[in-house]
Amino acid sequence: MNFGFTQEQQILRSEVRKYLEERCPMEDARRIMESAEGYCPERWKEIAELGWLGLLVPESYGGAGLGWVDLVVLLEETGRALFPSPLLGTVLATLAIVENGSPEQQQRYLPRIAEGTDLFSVAWLERADVLDPEVQATRAVREGDDLVLDGEKLFVTDAVSASHFIVSCRESEGPEGIALAVVPADAAGVTVTNLPSIDASKRLGKVSLAGVRVPADATLQGASGRPAGAAALGRLFDHAAAAITAEMVGAAEGAHAMVVEYAKARRQFGSLIGRFQGVKHPLAEMYVDIESFKSLLYYAAWCLDEAPDEAAEHVSMAKAYASDAFTRIGIDAVELHGAIGYTWEYDAQLYLKRSKWAKAMFGSADHHYERVAELGVV
């Protein structure tokens, strides 16, 4: 039994952290957040060279062929740095293609993802905001060798910078009738609009599809030739929830570390404020919560690779716990600083905004606790 990281994973962590400290300290992150693109092409190239973008891509397609636990290490660090980049879409598209793509499709898409040439994003949620993967208003109709897509996707991460979308849509009745179609962002009939996000480091957008024509072999089909189906989309949803929870671990630790440091430096009433229990006890509670949702997440990540049947319940536990706890941590991180924390220039606000973005995305605490009730309790 070993519920810890390997030496290689620890090295990966320190390399990622070092890169982000040197190449994307908070001043840079802020500049990138405020830029039109919302990410930095130069750094995107660098992290492609460092192998981050191909982390999950099998070696035969030009990646490192690593797994979920390695991904956790990477995402904890990008979360801690609030690194603004379309990495999430890359991760989710990779998982979707690795799990559902035919060998030919993997060969077509994965090397370019790993190189950083193509920027993928997953487009699945819609106006009705129903998280059930079977509920898709976007339609795909077969016309000859083509598939014609009509619909509208919301909350698409990094939509404006994406070169390709993996679009979930209904092709026929039943759970098997859900397809995942790869759509180039510049295809005729695709309109992408930026939707201002509460967290500027996490861009969101709307993707409208009006009679968009893609070849039928652009829908992900496993080696068996069967369409991906609702189960694959459901699993992708678990990947997404776990991925942002991994970033929440790092971000919550970042916020927590800021307050701890401040509590050791700021004096009031003739004493360091860290001596007041109204300050130190919330900090202890935050630590308890972070360690706890971290433990849940680590196990969930392991399940995603090694014990898929247990994954949904454990991802939901981690996301639910993290959503509530990080909400509190984000607020306390500002409040415990006093007025300085309430300023634009001070970084505490950035974590607060991340906590609000993360609690809303990929299932609220209520949503995930209901799944835990269903899968683990009742």
Partner: protein
């Protein structure tokens, strides 16, 4: 990460399981001669004092074996491995680590056989959380220490044959914990009196203990004079993940779910109510977090790293869960929640009401939640002492 056991550990777990299949009947069949038989077989198996070295009669188990055994036992709601509660929990380990050969010979076999109870004389009327400020005096007089003062909240004092006692042998010493000495004191010593205290549930598990010139032979000192404080700080490579508590909490949650299944709220099954489902899911999640926290601690212990203050994480979870599970048990009963055991109308014979009044040992006895938070804030986060 790897959650598999090694072949040896797997074999050990298999051994534990088949042993339990053979020797541990279902809970309803554990009356009659069972407790005596159980005590005998687990002793022969060296599960009593499982972590203690074999040369003193313990099991010499690795941290991993301890964790496996604890988990298997608590999953089956097995009875304790011995009735000498404090002897097995900390007096024995303290004697093994700090005692003389003579003391080990005198006490360890009796503890392993649960021949009698030990009690713990730490808290005093004026000192609890700030234990290092204790005042009960021990004055050296030839071959004896003469003890004068008072202890309080001493669990099992009425039944115990021996007490592990902390006294101040040097007054005015700074830091104050350096003037403290540990003594092993027979409870029938002349000048020692026990006065039971009734707790809020009406039981008298703890007591006041008065010392009026009690003479304790110097050979009953544990460790050196002035070094008593270290003895309280824990001993041996004990498995400290808290995983054993998880199975107990899970059982309570199972029972709570069964309660939600049979109770109705406004005429509908409680288990269909979204708030009820969410609360149960939150409990399940926090208990799971304790388990995975515990596995992370265990991994570190197996690698030979020390795990200390981090255990406060699970202590805080356990304290809150014990209270909240019981409170929710009462909430699910509507007006029936106000009834305690004693009538046919009470739900589950007043089980949840009893639980809701029965968390003193976990929540207060082992250091209060506030003290646990101080431990985390000061020792892990490095914030200033208050």
């Amino acid at each position: 990460m790897d959650f598999n056991l090694t072949p040896e550990e797997e074999a050990f777990r298999g051994d534990v399981r088949s042993f339990l299949d053979e020797h541990l009947p279902p809970e309803s069949d554990r009356g009659g001669m069972f407790p005596l038989r159980w005590a005998k077989v687990v002793r022969e198996k060296r599960w009593v004092g499982f972590s203690w070295p074999r040369d003193v009669g313990g099991g010499g188990a690795t941290v991993m074996q301890q964790a496996i055994l604890k988990e298997e036992l608590s999953q089956r709601a097995a009875p304790p491995l011995g009735t000498c509660i404090m002897g097995l929990a900390w007096v024995g380990p303290a004697i093994i680590q700090h005692g003389t050969e003579e003391q080990k010979r005198q006490f360890i076999p009796d503890i392993l056989d649960s021949k009698y109870q030990w009690c713990t004389g730490y808290s005093e009327p004026a000192v609890g959380s700030d234990l290092a400020a204790l005042q009960c005096r021990g004055v050296r007089d030839g071959d004896h220490y003469v003890v004068t003062g008072q202890k309080i909240w001493t669990s099992l004092a009425e039944w115990a044959k021996w007490m592990i006692l902390l006294v101040r042998t040097e007054v005015g010493r700074e830091p104050k914990h350096e003037g403290i000495t540990c003594l092993l004191v027979p409870m029938d010593s002349p000048g020692l009196t026990v006065k039971p205290i009734r707790d809020l549930a009406g039981h008298s598990f703890f007591a006041e203990v008065f010392f009026d010139g009690v003479r304790v032979p110097v050979e009953n000192r544990l460790g050196e004079e002035g070094k008593g404080w270290q003895i309280t700080l824990g001993a041996l490579a004990n498995e400290r993940s808290g995983i054993a508590e998880v199975a107990g909490l899970r059982r309570r949650l199972d029972r709570l779910r069964e309660l939600a299944r049979v109770r109705t709220l406004d005429g509908r099954p409680a288990l269909e109510d979204a708030r009820v489902r969410r609360r149960l899911a939150e409990f399940h999640t926090r208990i799971s977090a304790m388990r995975f926290n515990g596995l992370r601690f265990l991994t570190r212990q197996v690698k030979g790293e020390s795990v200390g203050s981090e255990t406060s994480i699970n202590k805080l979870h356990a304290a809150r869960l014990e209270q909240q599970l019981a409170e929710f048990g009462i909430e699910l009963q509507g007006s029936y929640g106000a009834l305690t055991g004693g009538s046919d109308e009470a739900v589950a014979g007043g089980h949840w009401q009893k639980q809701a009044l029965g968390w003193g040992t976990t929540v207060i006895g082992g250091g209060t939640p506030n003290v646990q938070k101080n431990i985390i804030a000061e020792r892990i986060l490095g914030l200033p002492h208050d």
